[in-house]
C-alpha cells in the first residue's frame, strides 16, 4: 500500500514547499518511487524549487477534465529516477476542482508509486480541502512562532475531523541560539501545544535559500548541509527507521565529525 501524505501548515511561508521538495528528493534517494503533487493551485512553485519549471506541459486540471492522461502530466526528474511531479494548475480552471475529484486523482496516482507527497496551499479554504482530500497522513510544518503554531493547531484539529489520523510535526527554521537566549520558542514549547509526535527539526540554513534559487533541492547534494541532513533524517524516520535527532545546539564546525560518529554507531 502506498502512503499518501499531505504537507500542510495553516500559516503561509513556513516552508511547506521546501519540505515537500526536499523530502521527496530524500525518499526517492532512499530507493522509493515518489510522486509530488503541487496542490497550491494558482501559485505553483514546487516545480520551481525542483528546477522542473520548463518541463511542465499539463497539470492536474487537464487530467481531471480529461484533456490528458495522468501519465502525460507527470514530470519525471532526470537527476533522481523515482521522483516525479504532478504540477499545479495556474489558470482559472483551478477554481472548478473539488475535493472529490482530487481524491480520485490522488488515488489513481498512488497506484503508480510508494509515496505521494502533497504540497498544500496556506489557509484552510477550498485549496486546503482539495489538498487533504486524498491524504491518509499529514506532516504539519511550523516555525517556532506563536502565530504559526496557532494556525498549525487549527489545522491539526481539522485534519483530525477529516479522519487523517497519522499526523507528524516538523519544526522548521529553528535557530538554536535564539532559543538559548529565550528569544524563540523551543521545539518542546511547540510540541507542548500541538501534542503531535515530532518527526523532524530543520534548522535555519542559508543553503535552503541558495538551493531554492538554483532549483536544486538541498537533499540532492552529495555533501549535505545541516538542513540537508535534517531532511534526510525525516525521510528515514518516515520509512520507519529510528534516527536520533540532530544536536543543533552545538556549532557547525564539529557537526560533521559528530554525524560521522552517529552513522558509524548506527551501522555496526
Amino acid at each position: 500500500m502506498s502512503r499518501i501524505i499531505v504537507v500542510t501548515s495553516g500559516k503561509g511561508g513556513v516552508g511547506k514547499t521546501t519540505v515537500t521538495a526536499n523530502l521527496g528528493m530524500t525518499i526517492a534517494r532512499l530507493g522509493h518511487q515518489v510522486a509530488l503533487v503541487d496542490a497550491d493551485f494558482g501559485l505553483r512553485n514546487l516545480d520551481l524549487l525542483l528546477g522542473l519549471e520548463n518541463r511542465v506541459v499539463y497539470t492536474a486540471a487537464e487530467v481531471i477534465i480529461g484533456e490528458c492522461r495522468l501519465e502525460q502530466a507527470l514530470v519525471k526528474d532526470k537527476r533522481q529516477p523515482g521522483l516525479m511531479l504532478l504540477p499545479a494548475t495556474q489558470n482559472r480552471r483551478a477554481e472548478a476542482i473539488n475535493p472529490q475529484q482530487m481524491k480520485q486523482l490522488i488515488g489513481e496516482l498512488s497506484k503508480m508509486c510508494d509515496y505521494v507527497l502533497i504540497d498544500s496551499p496556506a489557509g484552510i479554504e477550498m485549496g486546503f480541502k482539495n489538498a487533504i482530500a486524498g491524504a491518509t497522513e499529514a506532516l504539519i510544518v511550523t516555525t517556532p512562532e506563536i502565530a504559526a503554531v496557532r494556525d498549525a493547531d487549527r489545522v491539526v484539529g481539522l485534519l483530525e475531523a477529516q479522519s487523517v489520523k497519522r499526523i507528524h510535526l516538523i519544526v522548521n527554521r529553528l535557530r538554536p541560539k535564539m532559543v538559548r537566549e529565550n528569544d524563540m520558542m523551543s521545539v518542546e514549547d511547540v510540541q507542548e501545544i500541538l501534542a503531535v509526535p515530532l518527526i523532524g527539526v530543520i534548522p535555519e540554513d542559508e543553503n535552503v535559500i541558495v538551493s531554492t534559487n538554483r532549483g536544486e533541492p538541498l537533499a540532492l547534494a552529495d555533501n549535505l548541509s545541516l538542513a540537508g541532513v535534517a531532511f534526510q533524517n525525516v525521510g528515514r524516520r518516515l520509512q520507519g527507521e529510528s534516527v536520533e535527532f540532530l544536536d543543533l545546539d552545538n556549532n557547525n564546525e564539529n557537526f560533521f565529525s559528530r554525524i560521522g560518529k552517529v552513522l558509524r554507531t548506527k551501522i555496526f
Partner: protein, 270 residues
C-alpha cells in the same frame, strides 16, 4: 496565578454587555444517551441565529465522536434527530459513515422536513417525520427555561478555532489550547491545561465555576464577569478553581484551599 488572587482587569458584573448573558447555547451537535441507545441531535435551523454550514456541523460531529467513544458499546443504535435541518443523501451518508467509523449505527431518522424524510427514505433508512415544534414560531428560544442538560465529557485536545458549546457542564480530559474555547451553561472542568477561553454559567448563573489542573487562560468568564490572565505566567502551577466571590468578583483559588474553605453560596447552586 497565585493562590486566591484577584485577576487584573476584572470586570464587575453589571458593566458587561448583555450579549454575554444571552449566549444561545443550543446550537451544536449533541450526543445524548437514552435507554439502550444514543440520540444524535442536530441543532435546529430555526433555533439558532447563526447559520451553521454543513461543514461546521460535520466537524462538530467528528469532534464529539472522537472525544467520547468510550461511552458506548460497539454497534450501539443511534437515533438521528435531524429536527428542521435539510439534509441530502450525500450528507446523510457522510453522517452514517462518521458514525460507522465510531462503531455506531443509525437506527432511525427523525425529521420535520419532508425533503429530508424523502432523502433518508431513498437512502434506505427508516424515517419518522415529525410535526414542527411550536416553540420555533415564538422566536425566542432562550426564554424557554430548559432544564440543564447532562454533562458533556470529552477526551480530546480543544484546538485553536474549535468552540465547544453545551447547555450543561463540560468536562474536558485534555488541554484547551490558545484559540480554543468552551462555553457552558454549567461548570467547566479541564483535566489538563486551560490556555484558551472558558465561559462558565454563560446564561447568567454566577454560581458556576471553572476548574483546571493548569490555569493559564487567555480569558475566563463566569456569568457576566470577565477576567484576563496576568501577563507573566507563574513559576509553578497548581490545580485551581475560578469562581465569583460573594462580593461579585471573579477570583481564583488553589483547588486544595478552595475545597477546605467552602463558600456559603456554594450550597444553593442551581
Amino acid at each position: 496565578m497565585t493562590s486566591d488572587s484577584v485577576l487584573p482587569n476584572v470586570v464587575p458584573t453589571p458593566t458587561v454587555s448583555p450579549s454575554l448573558r444571552e449566549e444561545n447555547i443550543k446550537f451544536q451537535v449533541r450526543l445524548k444517551t437514552e435507554d439502550g441507545g444514543l440520540q444524535l441531535i442536530l441543532p435546529a435551523e430555526a433555533e439558532s441565529s447563526i447559520d451553521h454550514t454543513w461543514t461546521e456541523l460535520w466537524e462538530q460531529l467528528k469532534h464529539r465522536l472522537n472525544g467520547g467513544d468510550r461511552f458506548w458499546q460497539p454497534q450501539t443504535k443511534v437515533r438521528l434527530m435531524a429536527q428542521d435541518r435539510l439534509l441530502d443523501g450525500r450528507q446523510l451518508k457522510a453522517i452514517a459513515d462518521a458514525l460507522k467509523e465510531a462503531e455506531l449505527q443509525i437506527e432511525r431518522i427523525y425529521t420535520t422536513r419532508r425533503q429530508t424524510a424523502v432523502a433518508a427514505a431513498t437512502a434506505g433508512y427508516s424515517v419518522e417525520q415529525q410535526l414542527r415544534f411550536s416553540s420555533v414560531v415564538s422566536g425566542k428560544p432562550s426564554q424557554l427555561k430548559e432544564p440543564v442538560a447532562e454533562p458533556l465529557y470529552l477526551e480530546l485536545t480543544v484546538r485553536s478555532g474549535v468552540e465547544i458549546r453545551h447547555p450543561g457542564t463540560v468536562a474536558i480530559v485534555g488541554d484547551v489550547n490558545p484559540g480554543g474555547s468552551i462555553i457552558a451553561v454549567g461548570d467547566i472542568l479541564v483535566w489538563g491545561r486551560l490556555r484558551g477561553i472558558a465561559h462558565a454559567g454563560c446564561q447568567g448563573n454566577s454560581q458556576c465555576r471553572i476548574m483546571a489542573l493548569q490555569m493559564e487562560p487567555t480569558q475566563l468568564r463566569i456569568a457576566s464577569s470577565v477576567a484576563r490572565a496576568p501577563d507573566k505566567p507563574p513559576k509553578q502551577f497548581y490545580p485551581e478553581v475560578a469562581y465569583i466571590s460573594p462580593e461579585g468578583i471573579l477570583r481564583i483559588a488553589r483547588a486544595a484551599d478552595f475545597v477546605r474553605t467552602p463558600i456559603e453560596t456554594m450550597e444553593d447552586k442551581r
